[in-house]
Symmetry: C2
Subunit: 353 residues, 2 copies
DNA sequence: TTGTAAGCGTTATCAC
DNA sequence: GTGATAACGCTTACAA
């Protein structure tokens, strides 16, 4: 592989002159520039940016560390990140941690070694050691989706408390009183906040949440388990609140397994929308988060921090969620006699006598 | 930031000794190792792998260049790639080309400059200049999903001809004769092959494909347009074949816009399954491709090539597809009088004696 | 078992 | 306008 030296010899100039041509730096005469460019073309020279990075201490590489790129929410976020990063001349490494803090730490260690300029992190824990690690090595971080204890990073997220509150209100307005919440892991802000929003809405309506709160993982199997447990309760809840998209899918499976249909037998609401492509088939009522914009915003914050040497104060950007009511919510059984099927996209159903 | 030199001074040894400790290379006495490790811990030393890469000519970085990570098919593939790469100590850069060959070339140029060890490419064209670029710089490529003209790369893909053939057979067996195909761009092997499989099945059944073949993009809007056009035909087709998942979504929208329901009014089949999480809601009959395994297999091929200096012959790995028949196919109108609703969501029924 | 010297490919600094 | 020199942080080759 040709190097600056090879190009320099071929063009009859010095290596530094070649460098100047490549980077459009300093003054170069028309003729030397032409000679150099000809040599570059002839040799098929490709600059080695590793060497450049070693000198300049800028790798022009960011990293997106998330729990699972397969989650459509994070896929959209990834795309937002990549588009924004690419537009600014950065490439993006991607890392899946599967909600495993050790895996996260190992990745961060590796990214540090790779001289990654900045990291976009969806932390697996509320007080991530990884943020400290990065901070100690002067690598800026933007934390995505979740709030954390540390104050050493910018944060881009949505208001999970409000989102959950809105969603529960939809159910309350339709007469539901016995609503079970299927929550994520303790200590993850989105999981905690969504339960908090649920409680706030319930309590504001003077309702008890006793025995109605389940906590598990943000996964499909966990959603299945929690929903199965919730449906054993007597009296049975008339509505379920799934705190993320995977949990919602698990809950749907549990309902199906028991031969219960939505919204006839039960209503179901969830956090996170289905992927954009499938919006067509969407049936679930949800609070949607602007994943793509979150990614873009996070990159903007990161680049701003990379751009200036001054240590600006850390910012928390909270983006609005969107409430989308679809066919998965119906009237609660006890009030459905008085008014028919409000809010459901699908047609009215039989009132039980 | 501390360097090997700093660590060496602190531990009272030479830089190379530090290097040996870090890399577990050569013989080191117990005591020096302890001294060095202590110094590393005290200084919070993080090795700079950029410098290492400059010397060793191995960046331990791969790149996944795809059309759109947002397509669930490629998302699964990405996850397969990341898992396999990570297990082997490699990180992965991701790049979206949006089926744009120029964007692809720009990315490849950048990856070359970054000394990427190998590239996993979903090419935007059948004769990608990018593969030549990479080949010329001795960077191995594995082409994913699509066949290409060039013979300078390993290929991992599925048999689109056979897959389409299988799918059309499902329709033919249910009496459909007027089946329209909604195809992708000319010159992309998967697009061409799926149309070829369709034609083969139709012709084998003695049916004409005249006016029934539409070509557009692998996008939702294009699917909408093609389906809308197909539904204008007289007599109207009794079934539609969407050649990828996005096209299928567009086609569904077109059907809905015209007030046609599936499978009552029309049957619909497609290439590519819905994302795993949503399999629950799946209604479409599809040929599914093992995206995750394709990603893993591709990484295996790439690493094998990186591992040995001998130029092994290029391989083409063709993975099997899976036919999944769901509720979106029904009997063709003209035969539905004789037997009701075969092949619906409910399982197989008794063979008529 | 440990150290010396040199170089990977690039660019900052200073000189002409 | 252009060039010589050194340095970024690390490791290969060769000594000791």
């Amino acid at each position: 592989m040709a190097t600056v030296r090879d190009v320099a010899i071929r063009a009859g100039v010095s290596p530094i002159t070649v460098s100047r041509v490549i980077n459009n730096t300093g003054y170069i005469s028309r003729t030397t520039r032409d000679k150099v460019e000809a040599a570059i073309a002839e040799l098929g020279y490709v600059p080695n940016v590793l060497a450049r990075s070693l000198r300049s201490k800028r790798s022009h590489t960011l990293a997106f560390v998330t729990t699972d790129i397969t989650n459509p929410f994070f896929t959209s976020m990834a795309r937002g990140i990549e588009d924004a990063a690419s537009a600014a001349g950065y490439t993006v490494l991607f890392c899946n941690t599967d909600e495993n803090a050790e895996k996260e730490d190992r990745y961060v260690q590796l990214l540090l070694q790779k001289q990654t300029d900045g990291v976009l992190l969806v932390p697996a824990k509320s007080s991530p050691r990884s943020v400290e690690l990065l901070h100690d090595q002067d690598t800026p971080v933007v934390v995505l989706d979740r709030a954390i204890g540390s104050l050493k990073a910018d944060v881009v997220r949505c208001d999970s408390v409000q989102g959950a509150f809105d969603l529960i209100r939809v159910l309350l307005e339709r007469g539901h009183q016995r609503i079970a919440a299927l929550g994520g892991p303790m200590g993850i802000s989105t999981a905690d906040d969504r339960i908090a929003g649920y409680e706030r809405a319930m309590h504001a309506a003077g309702l008890s949440t006793q025995d109605l709160i389940f906590r598990g993982q943000f996964t499909e199997p966990s959603g299945f388990e929690m929903a199965s447990a919730a449906l054993q309760l007597t009296p049975r809840p008339t509505a379920l609140f799934a705190t993320n998209n995977f949990v919602a899918v698990g809950a749907s499976r549990a309902l199906e397994a028991l031969g219960l249909s939505v919204p006839t037998d039960l209503s179901l609401v969830a956090f996170d929308d289905v992927p954009p492509v499938l919006a067509q088939y969407a049936f679930l009522s949800v609070v949607a988060q602007p994943a793509y914009q979150m990614g873009q915003e996070a990159v903007a914050l990161l680049l701003a921090r990379l751009g200036s040497e001054e240590p600006a104060p850390y910012r928390e950007v909270i983006l609005p969620t969107t409430l989308i009511v679809r066919g998965s919510v119906g009237l609660a059984p006890d009030v459905s006699g008085s008014a028919q099927s409000a809010g459901g996209t699908s047609g009215p159903q039989e009132t039980p006598g």
